[in-house]
Amino acid sequence: MAVLVLAEHSNAALNDATTKVVSAAAAFGGDIDILVAGSNAKAAADAAAQIAGVRRVLLADGPAYEHATAEALEAVIVPLMANYDAFFAPATTAGKNVSPRIAAKLDVMQLSDITGVIDKDTFERPIYAGNAILTVKSSDKKKVVTVRGTAFQAAASGGSASVEAIEAPAGPFKSAFVGEELSKSDRPELASAKRIVSGGRALASAEQFQKYILPLADKLGAGVGASRAAVDAGYAPNDYQVGQTGKVVAPELYVAIGISGAIQHLAGMKDSKVIVAINKDEEAPIFAIADYGIVGDLFKIVPELTEKL
């Protein structure tokens, strides 16, 4: 048996998400190869080769792959799948974008956002915003799987797989990259942050979000998250959204500030180790899952907490 793992990377560096997918692939079993498709992505491929348990790294390098568009990735991956029993990708926006295309071309049903591998046909995944856990058995010969990063440990390093360049169609493809606006921040990324401070609608403006949430995050060395309401209102950028339809996180410490605790928000953070809630409504649902709660006005409590830490 062999598994093809799609690497998540920035060409220059490998993203941690990849190591979690390798762990899930190891639980599935068989030889593990990693595909790095990018432009000038040798550095990412070399990093992938150091993950323990990897047999080979396949490097598809070319300008058409710089931004990992779904149509270009499909052109590389589908032919490769003749040699593999399974395709595993991270359940990131990049993985979610391309994987169903691969599944459709292989005529198999994808297993999305898995949190457990039971055996080579059977997987666990949350449904209904994490309010139910589905154990599901696939009758398809080949498996196409996206992996929820918070459910798997990072694979160890210390491997020394070979890196092999592979032929990759040069395009043109039916979509083209135009531009991007990436959030710049020195704070830890949400997916890998050990601590996260999140703000909700109660912050009431972008200025107050920055004035109250960011200093606390800095004091804690934390990443910054937000509820959908805070993002919709423009208090925080879209990539801060934690939840069913945003990012799923599981840090050691999650501080929810002025967030009510709708099921869609809980879906993205309820596996955090320690949860703190600050909310003026003692009935807010967030308190039902918080380890420690303070009932009161965030505009008083947060500055005091920031100062005393």
Binding site: S99, A103, S175
Partner: protein, 248 residues
């Protein structure tokens, strides 16, 4: 330009889903159902395109039980022109949904499909991408802005690092994210008008699609329960507690 909008009937997002005691699924008996919220965003986007003169006709499609006609009517009341219900009481997986949609797209000669990024019941996030692959069309997933740009479609996407803009050849598939627009409420006169709009009744067999499930449910269980902790009186106590458990 003809736009096809697939809409799914799902549990209302305000309802807390309950797992059935026999572990076969989530209890949907007597539960409020509604249009998948992302699909409302898709319908809204299509209607705005029509208002701007970009779209000429909006076809609303659902695959599901007879009651999914109500879901289609909501789309028609928002501004859709006509509907197609592909009726089945079976669970239809995204791959089969995509195959049915492909057949409809080809029959209707649609130029654009606007689907939701994810159905909030199964949280699959697959159908739009699968449809694009089956049609060999490009895709713009997780859209927060869509604009016609000559003979191309410019789509801004919500990605993990921020926003990305891509340009798609037409025809294309777009999937919608939360920030694309705010769906309108249908007015009473429009709800009345929608009652007269046509909904064609079909079955998966009409499109020659085998909807047999590839994934079988072994069981559906409750997630691990998280116990509520304690409310603390002040910031000093909070800091002491967090220190005592090693969280800070």
């Amino acid at each position: 330009m003809k736009v096809l909008v697939p809409v799914k009937r799902v549990i209302d997002y305000n309802v807390r889903p309950r797992v059935k005691p026999d572990q076969t699924g989530v209890d949907l008996a007597n539960v409020k159902m509604a249009m998948n919220p992302f699909d409302e965003i898709s319908v809204e986007e299509a209607v705005r395109m029509k208002e701007k003169g970009i779209a000429t006709e909006i076809v609303i499609v659902s695959i599901g039980p007879a009651q999914a006609q109500e879901t289609i009517r909501v789309g028609l009341a928002m501004g859709g022109d006509r509907g197609i219900l592909v009726q089945t009481d079976e669970r239809v997986e995204p791959l089969a949904v995509a195959k049915i949609l492909k057949a409809i797209v080809e029959q209707e000669k649609a130029d654009l499909v606007i689907a939701g990024k994810q159905a909030i019941d199964d949280d699959n996030n697959q159908t739009g991408q699968m449809l694009a692959a089956l049609l060999d069309w490009p895709q713009g997933t997780f859209a927060s802005a869509v604009a016609k740009d000559g003979d191309k479609l410019k789509v801004t996407r919500e990605v993990d690092g921020g926003l990305q803009t891509i340009s798609l050849d037409m025809p294309a598939v777009v999937t919608t994210d939360l920030r694309l627009n705010e769906p309108r409420f249908a007015s009473l006169p429009n709800i009345m008008k929608a009652k007269k709009k046509e909904i064609a009744m079909k079955t998966p067999a009409d499109y020659g699609v085998d909807t047999a499930a590839r994934l079988s449910v072994v069981k559906v269980t409750e997630p691990k329960k998280r116990e509520a902790g304690e409310k603390v009186a002040d910031v000093d106590t909070l800091i002491a507690k967090l220190k005592s458990v090693g969280a800070i």
